[in-house]
């Protein structure tokens, strides 16, 4: 009975209801058969909605009774006027349930990180890095983990490589978490990489893509920042590099690329959230990707994932001049956004960065584009400001689910338009 109750309360709580506020559990001790009979009659009053945890059996044996708040007074008067002794075992059932729920969630998190990963929660770096190893273990012929460098604080920069063979095949690059406070993105990174691994051999598009191309996915692109959002400041955006001559820390990794570096779309002040850094690629986290993509030589698309705003952006951010294949990118964005909206109705706007959001220089996709990567996009995921960076974890799976067709649209287009 108790287990059912806890389960029901959990389900109700998950639905946003509070079922047991103010309810009490009374321990009643009937002293004779007459009182037992009275208790049974009491239980039969349907409108009181009484819930016996331990039924009245015989005198001297306790009867445990959960009384909903609205019935409390009536029940206590009944007991007292019949001289039936009782005590309050649980003062407020809801409080107890809340505590239990909390501790259950904690233990669930610990269990699931090793056996069944909880995609609907936000995870720490260690949990993500552990999970990456599990993914590789589960799909050894498809997925491998490579290290492309180290962060400022010497954390490894890991990239998941999806490949069915070949040698230096044309590739698609995706990154999440470059701005550490955008937690929905790292969460999407986990879900999406898992999805890619699962769908190879099942989904025709994923299979077609991976049969000719490789996918590289960096989930925790700014690990120092991410660790900092867990330990100290949930709103941290930048890297954690020390700036010479300033007490302010960090460079905006999405203003540090060598594309229009140093303009009005970034700041020269180390204390600013859009500080561009002392020079382009000064950040290890950025340099590692630059070196990787340059070294690879065959990357055909870069998709960088951010939040929030619900936008799909393409170059340029540093200048108003349209990209040479603006039309094509615009059409592709239009299709992707439409397929995204088809899932839950989530509306995105799209266009060049400078037209759609604001002027931004030294960005990832502008650099990629200027270095020959024709299909470069930035996603700004949910929401539009209601929760902003603090998107509830209940929205992780819906966000991942709706973004998936949009990502696929881009990847399929890249596959079908080799260059």
């Amino acid at each position: 009975m108790k287990i059912l109750l806890v389960f029901a309360a959990l389900v109700a709580a998950a639905c946003g209801e509070q079922l047991f506020v103010g309810d009490q559990v009374l321990r009643i001790t009937a002293s004779n058969e007459e009182q037992i009979a009275l208790l049974r009659v009491l239980g039969e009053q349907v409108e009181l909605q009484l819930d016996f945890w331990r039924h009245p059996t015989s005198p001297g044996h306790p009867t445990d009774l959960r009384v909903p708040f609205p019935s409390l007074q009536a029940v206590k008067i009944f007991l007292e006027s019949n001289s039936i002794s009782y005590s309050i075992m649980i003062e407020d059932v809801q409080e107890l349930l809340d505590e239990e729920k909390k501790s259950m969630m904690t233990s669930r998190r610990i269990e699931r990180s090793t056996s069944m990963f909880d995609f609907a929660s936000y995870h720490t770096i260690d949990e993500i890095y552990d999970w990456m190893d599990m993914l590789v273990d589960d799909h050894p012929s498809l997925v491998s983990k490579i290290q492309i460098g180290q962060s400022y604080e010497n954390r490894p920069l890991y990239v998941l490589k999806f490949s069915t063979g070949g040698s230096n095949r044309p590739a698609i690059w995706l990154d999440t978490g470059i701005h550490s406070r955008e937690w929905i993105t790292q969460a999407i990174g986990i879900w999406t990489t898992n999805k890619i691994a699962k769908e190879y051999g099942r989904d025709p598009s994923v299979t077609a893509i991976l049969d000719s191309m490789d996918i590289f996915f960096e989930i925790v692109t700014n690990p120092d920042g991410y660790a900092f959002t867990h330990s100290s400041n949930r709103m941290w955006r930048k890297t954690r590099s020390i700036n010479a001559g300033s007490h302010c820390i960090g460079v905006d990794p999405n203003r540090n690329w060598d594309a229009g570096f140093g303009g009005y779309g970034s700041s020269s002040n180390p204390c600013s959230e859009t500080y561009r850094g002392p020079y382009a690629h000064s950040e290890r986290e950025v340099k590692a990707i630059v070196d990787f993509i340059r070294g690879h030589g065959n990357v055909k698309s870069v998709i960088s994932i951010h939040s929030y705003s619900q936008m799909l952006l393409f170059p340029y951010g540093y200048k108003t001049a349209p990209a040479p294949n603006h039309q094509e990118l615009n059409e592709l964005a239009k299709k992707a956004v439409s397929d995204l909206a088809a899932v839950y109705g989530t509306k995105y706007t799209y266009g060049s960065t400078i037209d759609t959001i604001y002027m931004a220089d030294g960005t990832t996709i502008d650099w990629a584009y200027d270095n020959g990567v024709k299909y470069s996009f930035t996603f700004e995921l949910r929401d539009t400001g209601h929760y902003g960076f603090l998107l509830p974890s209940s929205q992780i799976i819906p966000t991942a689910t709706e973004t998936w067709p949009a990502l696929l649209d881009i990847m399929v287009h890249v596959l079908e338009h080799p260059y």
Binding site: Q18, M235, S267, C271, S272, G388, L391, P392
Partner: protein
């Protein structure tokens, strides 16, 4: 508009912050003068709810807060994971409303805001019927991406406009790793804002 400024014509719909239900549509013009003085705004809205319904909703919110037996206090609403304690939702809702006053004053043609989080809230019990809260709210500034920390004192009684006093400082100015929230000019000027629009 040559020699005058930039004028924007806006048509937009509004939605209930909690339920997402359509709450009406508005037509507005906003003129930003070249002189950088505050914009001239003309706005006309059609509400889907009638006055009576709005009054009832306000009263319900008010009663929910008044019925608490202890002064309400809270931190990090929503928390890092986006969760809001159901008991603190009304307080969060009031913070959103109060923050919108701050944003209304601070926004410019090139700077916009969202309320990112209620860092802390403390209720001040008053002898009269007004409810009063002391907030620290974090505002997310676009396009600078800065997080502003605003101290906001909010007073309200249904049927009366929200009264908001505030003082904002950038989280970043010289502060690192939670070394306290004092900003340089601690003798801050409190801005007072009553609704007169």
């Amino acid at each position: 508009i040559p020699d005058s400024g930039h004028k924007y014509y806006l048509q937009f719909t509004t939605e209930d912050y909690k339920s997402g239900e359509n709450a009406g549509s508005c037509l507005a013009t906003v003129l930003y003068p070249n002189t950088k003085s505050p914009p001239v705004v003309n706005i006309k809205c059609m509400h889907t709810k009638d006055q009576k319904q709005i009054q009832e909703d306000d009263n319900r919110l008010y009663q929910k807060i008044r019925h608490q037996t202890k002064p309400i206090i809270g931190n990090n609403i929503p928390d890092s994971y986006g969760n809001i304690e159901p008991a603190l939702e009304p307080v969060w809702a009031l913070a959103v409303a109060g923050s919108s006053y701050i944003m209304w004053e601070k926004s410019t043609e090139n700077l916009g805001y969202f309320m990112a989080q209620v860092k802390s809230v403390k209720q001040w019990i008053r002898k009269d019927d007004f409810i009063e809260f002391d907030y620290t709210v974090l505002l997310h500034e676009i396009p600078t991406q800065e997080i502003l920390s605003c101290h906001m004192r909010l007073t309200w009684l249904p049927g009366h406009p929200l009264k908001v006093k505030y003082f904002c400082a950038s989280e970043n100015q010289g502060l690192e790793d939670g070394s306290g929230m004092e900003s340089g000019s601690a003798a801050g000027i409190l801005h007072e804002k009553g609704a007169n629009f």
